[in-house]
């Protein structure tokens, strides 16, 4: 049974109810309860968002604006720094999101199974989520320092190569992605755990009676039935990953060169340099990127929802 048929009924009956109780319903749940939230949303979110479309087409100094058409976007597509940031945003978003889904699921599977010290493990994996991102960035920048850092000291001691984690142009972005996963894996794990725990035990019992192996149980019961959890993890981590700024700014600041710049860090750099029009064009690009990724992804994830 699909969700469309089940949803076809309620509106009709709700309409009947509304007609019968109209006067009372109206006064009991007044529309003005929305007002303060709507006012803030309009002033500090909707207006800036709509204004950004106009300002992205201008050369802007906050005092005056000169309309320059698509000049900022052309600059975006031509400047190697900006185009780099554009590509990196996708790479970073997809890599961190995929890593969180895979690792988060495996950890959740492990932690919902028979395991000692589960409370400790859960707490330890989760606590980085609550720590300041800037703090995490600084700590890892020092732990992964190419010359003095603890990690490279250990690697050197056992004769392994000592990579320049944040200083090698080919590695910086991926090192940051790794730190991001370290910090965010706790949420993914928790969400998957909640999803897995909600699966009725009878399914497993029935499958075991039929002689299914534990791998088969995971593949045919756990994975399909933790789909809502996966949708949540994918959506949350993609939104976070595509907009990521703090962790990048705290570790490399987009460097070395522009090799770990993403759109969000370009926006900040252009803002700092006083190119407000260009910075706002970056915001519009980010808006388009996030929407272009999130709309199909959430549609796909929700479409294939399994019925329980």
């Amino acid at each position: 049974m699909t969700t469309t048929t089940t949803q076809a009924l309620p509106p009709a009956s709700a309409g009947l109810l509304r007609q019968r109780y109209r006067p009372r319903t109206r006064s009991a749940y007044p529309m003005w309860f929305f007002l303060p939230a709507v006012a803030l949303y309009v002033v500090f979110f909707a207006i800036p968002t709509f204004a950004s479309f106009y300002f992205s087409l201008t050369r802007w100094t906050l005092f005056d604006t000169t309309f320059i058409g698509f000049g900022n976007f052309v600059a975006f597509l031509q400047d190697p720094q900006l185009i780099n940031g554009f590509v990196h945003t996708f790479e970073y978003g997809f890599v961190t999101s995929a890593a969180k889904v895979v690792l988060g699921f495996l950890l959740a599977l492990f932690l919902t199974g028979p395991v000692i010290a589960r409370g400790y493990l859960r707490a330890v994996i989760f606590f980085p989520v609550l720590v300041s991102t800037i703090g995490v960035g600084i700590v890892f920048k020092n732990l992964l320092d190419p010359f003095h850092g603890m990690v490279n000291a250990l690697l050197g001691a056992v004769g392994l190569p000592q990579p320049g984690w944040f200083t090698d142009p080919n590695m910086a972005l991926w090192t940051i992605a790794g730190v991001d996963v370290w910090k965010g894996i706790g949420i993914a794990t928790l969400i998957f755990m909640a999803g897995i725990v909600a699966i009725p035990q009878e399914y497993y019992e029935a499958a075991r009676m039929d002689g299914a192996s534990s791998w088969r149980l995971v593949r045919t019961i756990t994975i399909p039935l933790s789909r809502p959890a996966m949708a949540t993890v994918v959506i949350l981590s993609l939104i976070g990953g595509l907009r990521s700024f703090d962790i990048i700014w705290a570790t490399t600041g987009g460097g070395p060169g522009f090799t770990s710049d993403v759109i969000a860090s370009v926006i900040y750099k252009e803002y700092q340099a006083g190119f407000f029009g260009l910075s706002t064009a970056g915001n519009v690009v980010l808006f388009i990127v996030v929407t272009a990724v999130m709309v199909p992804v959430s549609w796909l994830l929700n479409r294939k929802q399994v019925d329980l």
């Binding site: 303060p36 300002f55 000692i116 928790l190 959890a229």
Partner: protein, 268 residues
């Protein structure tokens, strides 16, 4: 056996960085700058604590004050406004519902436009003010929390509303006296999750609340890193200080935080 490996691995991966912060925070400046993972030869924990609080004319104390005011006021506002909106959104099916849902989701997904927001803040005279910063944090927190409240409202039976209405309660009394107390579990969740988010926020104060006077705790960390490269011990003491409030929250409200963050896991 497998469990022991897991405990050891998790300790190395997740606890060593934290231990590193504690050790660094207790060292002398010279020893800390070597970045070695070693026991301090001389424990300077308290002197470092005093030093960091006095650094840059006590900017950290000011930042703690700023962050506390910002967190407390914006969390109260977000909770109240999101509860009101989520409540009516769930209870009152109307054709506006779809439109509002769309905007709530947009607020969750769309990244805020930086310079235009500054432009608006300047237009209403709130740029670089605490009030402006509070309203910004409140606005950006609305969408997520409205969704939480709306989801929780579904579990509260309408009969309770109707009973209160029959007893003659008006809409405000119904909300404050009947509904809000029933929303208590989700209120706690929203307060804790939002408080941690605002306290740890870096990008928004960086853009909308600049200036030394206005420093928030996250910004002191960032400035500290820029200025005092020779004082790694104080930098790490600052990290330690800033980590404590969210950690305390976690210890006391573990369950509510988990409930809030996993609310979408079971039912899409």
């Amino acid at each position: 056996m497998f469990g022991l490996i897991a405990i050891a691995a998790s300790a190395v991966i997740f606890l060593v960085p934290f231990l590193f912060v504690v050790l660094q925070a207790a060292k002398t400046p010279g020893e800390a700058s070597s970045l070695a993972f070693s026991w301090p030869t001389e424990w300077r924990f308290l002197p470092n604590l005093v030093d960091v609080l006095q650094a840059n004319d006590g900017i950290i104390l000011r930042a703690f004050l700023n962050s506390s005011v910002l967190t407390v006021v914006s969390v109260v506002l977000t909770t109240l406004l999101a509860a009101m909106a989520g409540y009516v959104l769930e209870r009152r099916p109307s054709r506006w519902g779809t439109v509002i849902n769309f905007f709530v989701l947009a607020g969750l997904i769309v990244p805020p436009a930086v310079v235009p927001t500054i432009w608006v803040l300047q237009g209403v005279g709130l740029f670089k003010t605490m009030l402006g910063m509070i309203l910004i944090e409140t606005t950006f927190g609305l969408s997520f929390n409205i969704l939480l409240f709306r989801a929780f409202m579904r579990t509260i039976p309408r009969e309770l509303d109707e009973a209160a209405l029959i007893d003659g309660a008006g809409p405000i009394r119904l909300f404050l006296r009947v509904v809000l107390p029933l929303l208590r579990p989700v209120v706690v969740t929203v307060v804790v999750v939002q408080a941690v988010a605002v306290f740890n926020d870096f990008a928004n104060p960086l853009y909308f609340f600049p200036g030394d006077e206005n420093a928030t705790v996250q910004l002191t960390l960032y400035q500290f890193q820029g200025q005092n490269l020779s004082y790694y011990n104080l930098l790490f003491m600052d990290i330690l200080l800033i980590t404590i409030p969210p950690l305390v929250m976690y210890v006391f409200f573990n369950r509510q935080i988990v409930a809030g963050l996993t609310s979408g896991a079971v039912k899409g």
